[in-house]
């Protein structure tokens, strides 16, 4: 079958960003599973390791030492991002390896970040999946905010839920801060609201909106609301072990609705799969994960839910 990318060369790829704040919740594994599920639908998918400080996505796909990395693109060794794409063992799935050897890239300069952002959004593919690094640095949040499908991965543990919420919260304030970047006084109010214990008693986005309405007028307050409405996080609970674990995403959804007025969607869970654990610890590529495995089945279900086009996975 001809790749859809070839049929629509002018169409931009769908960008997926996989974040979540805390390290170790399985962002990279979920990225790989979703990428494989999409590629198995015969849709050209490029998986990009944007964990610029600790890139290791390639090891999950059985690549020990990547020959080309994002660093080669940023330092102009290669002019096009397509040139650093590496074919994986999965048909229709390519990989752009991160650049962990260059620590300075953990905090790329604005121009470098823009170059990466622009290039990935113009990749000739049906889907581009960005595996984000841990934490909520501006760089991570900026990658998250450009995505068509901004996904937050969490596990049912309290610390992960807290971090996932912090991730959404920081993404919201990053977005607001960018909207307000030309107004210092507005920036100041947003900065104050970001402090969860601020003495101006701004505890929710509505409080902030009210303060902005008072200080800068209704139009600016509405502009912030519109900016918030563009953030629609998608929540995946990873390593769920029982029915109650599946509720972890709902917690983020409820708290984000209440405090941030952000509407998020629960995409479902990826159940804990001992086979995945075993493969990772034995350095076996996840590309060899059977399509009938629990984790893969869940990933396919998530893709089906999101694209609303249930299809049989092909391997």
């Amino acid at each position: 079958m001809i790749s859809q990318a070839k049929q629509k060369t002018t169409r931009k790829p769908t960008i997926w960003a996989i974040g979540g704040g805390k390290g170790g919740v399985g962002k990279s594994v979920v990225s790989v599973l979703l990428a494989m599920a999409l590629a198995n639908r015969q849709q050209k998918t490029v998986l990009v390791d944007t964990d610029l400080g600790g890139a290791n996505l390639h090891t999950l796909l059985g690549i020990k030492t990547p020959v080309r990395t994002l660093n080669d693109f940023v330092t102009r060794k290669y002019n096009k991002i397509e040139d650093i794409c590496i074919q994986s063992q999965v048909r229709h799935l390519e990989l752009v390896c991160g650049a962990s050897e260059i620590l300075s890239l953990a905090n790329p300069q604005y121009a470098q970040k823009t170059k990466i952002l622009q290039s990935v959004t113009n990749l000739s593919a049906d889907h581009v999946i960005l595996d984000l690094g841990a934490g909520t640095s501006y760089n991570v949040l900026d990658f998250f905010l450009i995505a068509d499908h901004p996904i937050v991965v969490l596990t049912p543990q309290p610390i992960s839920i807290q971090n996932a919420y912090a991730f959404v919260r920081n993404a919201v304030y990053r977005k607001l801060s960018r909207v307000a970047h030309q107004k210092a006084s507005l920036q100041e109010i947003i900065k104050t609201a970001m402090d969860p214990k601020n003495e101006d008693q701004m505890r929710t986005f509505r409080d902030l909106q009210q303060a902005v309405r008072k200080s800068h007028g209704a139009e600016i307050a509405d502009q912030l609301s519109r900016a918030i409405n563009t953030i629609r996080p998608l929540l995946i609970t990873n390593m769920a072990k029982d029915q109650r674990d599946n509720n972890a995403g709902r917690i983020i959804k409820l708290v984000a609705e209440k405090y941030l007025t952000v509407e998020s969607t629960e995409l479902g869970s990826v159940d804990y799969d001992m086979l995945v654990d075993k493969m990772i610890s034995q350095m076996m590529p996840l590309s060899e994960l059977p399509s009938t495995s629990k984790a893969m089945t869940d990933a396919v279900a998530i893709i089906n839910k999101l694209t609303d086009q249930p299809q049989q996975a092909v391997q």
Binding site: G21, K22, G23, G24, A134, G135, T136, P156, P158, I159, I161, Q162, N163, Y165, A166, R169, N170, M194, D195, P196, K197, E199, D200, Q201, R203, D242, R244, D245, N247, A248, R250, I251, L254, V255, K258, Y259
Partner: protein
């Protein structure tokens, strides 16, 4: 515009929180004075200190401290709390008319005037205020106490000075919830909320809601009879009450999603390593480990671990500290510096523990960002996260 003040549960630095909620009992005036040197303008702490002085029968000092607390409350627009501090001050020493008028003038000129409750207190004439103040009854209750009961006589109006109460769902609300399949939890009432049926003033009412204290609370109670008499003598009081009544008319079930746990402080265990370098030849280096009880960008309170149950032999207060925080996140091990500003032993059912409070030196932007991220969300956000986790995910 008044300087807003956080509720006690939102205090920036944990020592205040712990002193105010009673989990850190300070029974020495000297210790309290040390704390007040650091937090010079916190009215709740001043009020607490005044109560301590009053209990110790140091009445002159208590009068001064209530006076100070009242003016700090007024500065922050907390008229009700200022009035209660004044009532306590005047219960020790009866005021002269001049003193009464000075307070009234301060309240009406500079007290908060933005919310209906602020206007209720600040909008009365001197005679009106005194008529109400003289009949106010202060009520202190521990958590879990039922204050009003459904279908029982509802003859008092309560004003919440501090603490939180839960308004249990009414039978109608429960029926509505059952029909719509929504889970409901009690509403939470906090400082400056009021409860009890105000109108009609001239007919007996029965309570429609059960109200229970969710934390230790301080309330002010005024009977409807007192209000009725005051209103007949001073029509302005009835106008102010009408405004207050309208503003409190909430839709049934409008806050039913809230949880009584909002008033509780949740915290995730965070490992802390502390090194206190010697500052002089007669000081020795001290290494401590513990668990953080509360963290903010201002500082941290640490429960020193059990091996230190006997307590650090050295007096740590005033020592400089290098602090390593393991935020349970591989990207977030923070190395900070600060100063130990308090130290004390706390008795617990399972044995004594030692607590210290450290105030951080100015944080660099990156550390501040990381801490903000870790202490993500306000108390409300945190508590909603954890109460939902308790009910929806946690397996017992």
């Amino acid at each position: 515009m008044k300087t807003p003040l956080s509720l006690p549960t939102d205090h920036k630095f944990s020592i205040m929180q712990r002193i105010l909620d009673g989990t850190l009992a300070i029974d020495s005036p000297e210790e309290f004075e040390d704390i007040l040197k650091i937090y010079t303008d916190d009215p709740f702490l001043h009020r607490k200190y005044a109560d301590l002085l009053n209990d110790l029968n140091r009445l002159e000092d208590a009068i001064d401290m209530y006076e100070k607390a009242a003016s700090l409350f007024i500065e922050r627009g907390m008229n009700l709390q200022a009035i209660v501090a004044k009532i306590l001050q005047w219960s020790i020493q009866k005021p002269t008319h001049a003193q009464g008028r000075t307070f009234h003038s301060l309240l009406s000129r500079t007290g908060g005037n933005e919310t209906p409750l602020q206007r209720f207190w600040a909008g009365m004439s001197y005679a009106e205020l005194i008529a109400v103040m003289r009949r106010m009854v202060r009520v202190k209750e521990h958590s879990g106490k039922r204050i009003t009961q459904v279908d029982q006589a509802d003859d008092d109006v309560y004003f919440i000075v501090s603490g939180f109460l839960a308004e249990m769902p009414s039978p109608e609300c429960e029926t509505e919830a059952r029909m719509t399949g929504i889970d409901i939890e009690p509403k939470l009432l906090g400082p400056n909320d009021i409860f009890g049926t105000i109108f009609p003033l001239d007919r007996p009412c029965t309570a429609e809601m059960e109200i229970r204290s969710a934390t230790d609370v301080e309330l002010v109670k005024i009977t409807k009879k007192v209000l009725r008499n005051a209103c007949s003598k001073y029509p302005n009081i009835e106008n102010l009450l009408q405004t207050l009544h309208k503003s409190d008319a909430r839709t049934m079930c409008d806050r039913a999603w809230q949880t009584v746990r909002r008033a509780m402080r949740y915290g995730l265990p965070t490992k802390v390593e502390i090194n206190c370098p010697p500052l002089s030849s007669n000081q020795r280096e001290v290494d401590l480990t513990g668990i953080a009880l509360d963290i903010s960008i201002g500082g941290i309170s640490v429960d020193l671990e059990s091996q230190r149950a006997a307590g650090p032999k050295t007096d740590l207060k005033g020592r400089l500290a290098q602090i390593k925080l393991d935020l349970l996140n591989k990207v977030a091990v923070l190395n900070l510096t600060g100063k130990i500003v308090w130290q004390r032993r706390q008795r617990k059912p399972q044995g004594a523990s030692h607590l210290i409070g450290i105030r951080f030196d100015t944080l660099n932007t990156m550390d501040q960002q990381m801490l903000l991220e870790y202490c993500s969300g306000s108390v409300g956000e945190q508590n909603l996260l954890w109460s939902l986790w308790d009910t929806m995910v946690k397996n017992d």
